[in-house]
Amino acid sequence: MQYSQPQNPRMSVLSTTSLASDHFSPASSSTRFSLPVGAPINIPAKQGNKPQIYDRNLNKTRTAEVSLSAYAFLFAEIVRYTQMRVSGIGDLERRLNVLGYRIGTRVLELMSWRAEAGTKAPKREIRFRAALMSVHSQVWRAVFAKPADAIEKSVDSDDEYMIIDNDPPITRYISVPKDMEQLSCSSLTAGIVEAVFDGLGFPARVSAHSTPTDAYPSRTTILIKLDKSVLEREESSK
């Protein structure tokens, strides 16, 4: 299938320092898998008795809760920082999307590990509808501790689906000024969703749009526009 790997253009917007420490990028981690020639493998001694984050059981923090305030401050600072370094709203949304993408790849991995590690027959979603349902409930629950509020299918085009959140926790305290009305800070969420779909093998373009109603002023729609190849595959495997 000719679908360009989304990783590389995404990496280009990241600073080199964050690339160097990125355990995700194949470029930086390839040396870890090459065998040293004739030299004994040196396992670096643990520094002091500090517990390493990698030693921790992945299930330990499954139900742990984090402070919404702390994350609200962190996210506000991310938006503020990013906003100073972009030229327009589109650029800002794209960068938030990229940051979300990096979260999403990890969320997918951790989520599948947690959900499937214990079962005898681990599975992954291969049909789009099922994958969409699992993003709506499981990904949302893993990231925001609640399922999203609705799933919709576009009436106009076959390749567009929507996930709707009536009150996204990350934008709960954010008021977008009038002159930036088109901006949706949920682009981060869109990035997460895009990464999960990419990881599951459903390449798509995902964007976030504010669709306020009177009852839910911060209602947000995550719009998923599927790649043509996905539709063709769905069609052929019916």
Partner: protein, 136 residues
Amino acid sequence: MVVFGLWVINKAGGLVYQRSFADGLSQLTANENLVLAGTLHGIHAITSRLGPTGSSSGAQVIEAETFKITILHTLTSTKFVLFTSLHDVNAEPLLQKVYEVYADAGMKNPFHAPEMPIRSEKFDTRIQALLGSTQA
């Protein structure tokens, strides 16, 4: 109790938020509000140095014949000033809640710059919900 108005004054003495609630009050112009807020800032600075036993928290309540001014001075020197009717016991807890709203809708909003005027829709709505309903 009746809440007449709310000011938020930044640490330099500038008025960053002003809102009046009760109907039928004679309104001040924006400029008059700014001057009065600056004056109150000065008075507060003076009273905080008047304590007989060294530094003090400064004026907390100023009572007039027909109204009462309650001042909440935070650790970061932002002042929340509430104008209420004289026999009002709720002003201080209310100011704490205003402080909370400020922390939520002001400081956690990436489009708000500290010490600058607060222009946030969510701040407005939450202040309205908090103080607008106290007119009884």
